[in-house]
Each structure stands twice: as C-alpha cells, then as structure tokens.
Symmetry: C2
DNA sequence: GTATATGCAAAAGCTTTGCGGGTTC
DNA sequence: GAACCCGCAAAGCTTTTGCATATAC
C-alpha cells in the first residue's frame, strides 16, 4: 500500500478505486499536474468522472495529504508534500525546480516576528535564470 | 493627472475614459481587488463593459503598470506596484498585510545562488497569526 | 446495512474573444 | 484620418454541484 494510501486510512478517508488511482498518479508524478492532467493520467484504461477527480483532490487537500499551488496562471496544480520546499522557476525554460533551504524559513520567521506575527506557513516562488560564466565575472 | 496615467502615456497606452477609471480605482484601493471588483467600483454612475475591464487590466499588466497576483484561490487580484513587497495573510482573519523587508531579498538571493541561479524576482506569501502574550512566553 | 463516494450532466464562476461602431491621438 | 479601443454578447475553461446509483467499511 502506498504511502499516501496509508495517510488516507489514518485520516478516515475511504480508499475507493478512483481515489487510489489519483493517489498513484500524484505519487508517481515528478511534475506538478493540474486536475485535468491528473484525470487524464488516472483514466488510462478506466472510466473516472472528471468531477470525481476534483472532489477527490479537494478532499485530499483538506486532509492535508496533498498540496495545491497556483503558480502564476489560472489553473491549480497539485503535489504530494515532501519535506517543506518551495519552487524556483527558470525564467528561460519555465522548468520548475524544487527549492529546500531551512535558512530561508528562519529568515521568513524573523520577518513575520518583526511585524508581530507568528509564522504558520509560507510559500515562496522564485524566478531566476541559470548562472553563466559572465554572471560570475560581472556585478549583475 | 495621476501617477499611473503618466506611466500609461510614457508607455504609449491610450488614455481612454474606461482606462482612467480603472487606474483611479486601483490607485485608490488599499486592498487587492479582483477584476470584477474593479469593474464594480469603476462603474459607479457609468457604463463600462466587464470585458473591457479585463482587456485594460491585461494591457496594464503587460506594460508593467500593474501587478497580478493569485494568492491561494482561483481569481486574480491586482495592485499598483509600490516598492518591492510581499504579502502576509492573517490565518484567522484573512486580512492581507504588506511585507517589505530587504533582508528577505538577500536571503532568497543567496538561496538561488546556492543552486547556481541568478535571482530575477520572487514572490513570497506568508501565512501567520498575530502574536499573543502566550506566544512570547511559550516555545511554540 | 448505512453512510459515503461515484457518474453523469448541468451549472456556476472567471476570463477571453469576434465584431461593428466609436474614440483617441 | 488611421489606429486603436469599447460595448455587447457569445464562447472557452476550470471548477462545482444535484441526484440517483454503486461502493467501502
């Protein structure tokens, strides 16, 4: 049984067939698929209603089993939360790189504290370009 | 003439009546209104098509005169970019607080550099709750 | 056996777009 | 006067929802 399926059991979500398929797709994904893309992948040789996929995803997000992002466009994208991480988007290729760095978390926590807030969570989305040799020699 | 209207002129956008109204609304807004909300505010005693508001907003974003955010829900929200800042969302009230801190930018820049990237821009969205007395006495 | 999830299809946002006429420069 | 923008209305997408049936526990 998959890691995510176990989480579902623990949190009292029913392990229906469509739900298992969705979990398998997300667990196997190395990208950040949209609901429709998840539906496409989950219905390989099987009939699952698109509306059902949306309902499953919402349940999983509420239960804290999946995370939902919006990046900078309309449609929502999903992923299984690994360790706390954020996203770096390559401005030239659009590729999304995962970015984990606990020094960042400490910085954000201090910034929130300066305003009188206690940090609950944060989302960071970085746009950047690969460094070239020129970058190392120039003061950009 | 408003600050944003001047920017439009400089960048060759026509100052039509609907465009002026939209600019005025955004310039006066202390929140982060959606396109529909901007339309509602801009059509006080005047008829402007909703589609026109969308077209104007898109033009303004492309010209770099407004910024578009998605926060954590479907609909897009707009604001006039002041100095570089980010957003802190109060988890209890949903209130959005602006968060400007150049120490943060330095942290993010270093994190990107560690991955071999040169920072272009970043977006930070913090969820937090107001600190109470208890927070100061407890190790949360 | 019962509560809950699914499938289907319709509907509900939000956003974009084609077209003819009007406005800005 | 020419280029561009607007109003209107329709269409496109993504996401949600009502209802009868099927399924997991």
């Amino acid at each position: 049984m998959g890691r995510l399926e176990i989480l579902c059991q623990e949190r009292g979500l029913r392990l229906t067939r469509p739900c298992r398929r969705v979990l398998a797709v997300v667990e196997a994904a190395s990208d950040h698929p949209s609901a429709q893309e998840i539906h496409r992948r989950a219905t390989a040789g099987e009939r699952i209603a698109l509306g059902t996929v949306y309902r499953i995803l919402n349940r999983l997000v509420i239960a804290g089993i999946l995370e939902r992002h919006t990046f900078n466009g309309g449609t929502m994208r999903y992923e299984a939360p690994q360790e706390r991480h954020h996203h770096l988007i390559d401005a030239r290729t659009g590729q999304i790189v995962e970015l984990a760095d606990r020094r960042l978390a400490a910085s954000v926590e201090r910034a929130a504290a300066r305003l009188g807030y206690r940090l609950v969570d944060f989302k960071l989305e970085v746009t950047a370009v690969r460094k070239t040799l020129a970058d190392r020699e120039t003061k950009a």
